[in-house]
């Protein structure tokens, strides 16, 4: 079942912060976050595991709430380069990397 992302779209000015949420109705094993710019491939940002481990880019932070089966991606002091569509991909159990992606959140950063 597809995870649900919120909000669907965010518009920011440079320097502002944003939070993107990803919720699942099923128990999660891991949550992956990717950013996709128009006409390009999704690019890995972060992976969060059940149990608290995480791995990702230094300037990106995220959380994983196991009780709520929810992950949040925190974008602070946004830059123009942050613009794009953010996807969460969820993994249920150790499933050889089978990710179910959310519908995406479009982030636009203006000067």
């Amino acid at each position: 079942q597809q995870p649900v992302q919120s909000p669907q779209a965010v518009i920011l000015r440079e320097g502002e912060d944003a939070v993107i949420n990803c919720s699942s109705s099923k128990a999660l094993y891991s949550v992956h976050w990717y950013r996709q710019k128009h006409g390009e491939a999704p690019v890995f940002l972060m992976i969060l595991l059940k149990g608290g481990e995480q791995k990702g880019h230094e300037k990106i932070s995220a959380s994983f709430n196991e009780k709520k089966q929810q992950s949040s991606l925190y974008l602070t002091a946004s830059q123009l380069s942050y613009s794009g569509t953010y996807f969460c991909g969820t993994e249920y159990g150790t499933s050889y990397g089978k990710l179910t992606f959310g519908q995406g959140t479009i982030l636009t950063v203006h000067p």
Partner: protein
């Protein structure tokens, strides 16, 4: 450059034709994937291979047939193309290191069926 590459980048064809998309990765990964991204940007996994063995086979029409000649290559052949097959197809690869299996995507192949 180390990367996941796909050919062709664009593919325009008529309904009913058969076409193939090729993917290669030189990252030393042992797992490769095919994803379909539709016009609404919905990204859905189709297949995955681990060391040439099919491990994920989602509900996809059997007109789609993946083939992995070795762990660095994963091809996708599509028979009798239909209008609904128009989409961007992404290849990805991963190499689980401990519990982490972040996926690296190729540039995509935009398929247009007329």
């Amino acid at each position: 450059d180390t990367a996941v590459s796909q050919t062709p980048k664009y593919l325009v064809t008529q309904m009913g034709n058969d076409k193939s998309i090729k993917c290669e990765q030189n990252l030393g990964h042992d797992t490769m994937y095919w994803y379909k991204q539709d016009s609404k940007k919905f990204l859905k996994i189709m297949f995955s291979y681990n060391n040439k063995e099919l491990i994920i086979n989602e509900t996809v029409p059997n007109r789609f047939s993946p083939k992995s000649p070795d762990k660095a290559h994963l091809n996708l052949h599509i028979n009798s193309l239909e209008l609904g097959d128009s989409a961007v197809y992404f290849c990805a690869s991963s190499h689980p290191q401990g519990p982490y299996n972040e996926q690296f995507f190729g540039p995509g192949t935009r398929l247009t069926v007329l």
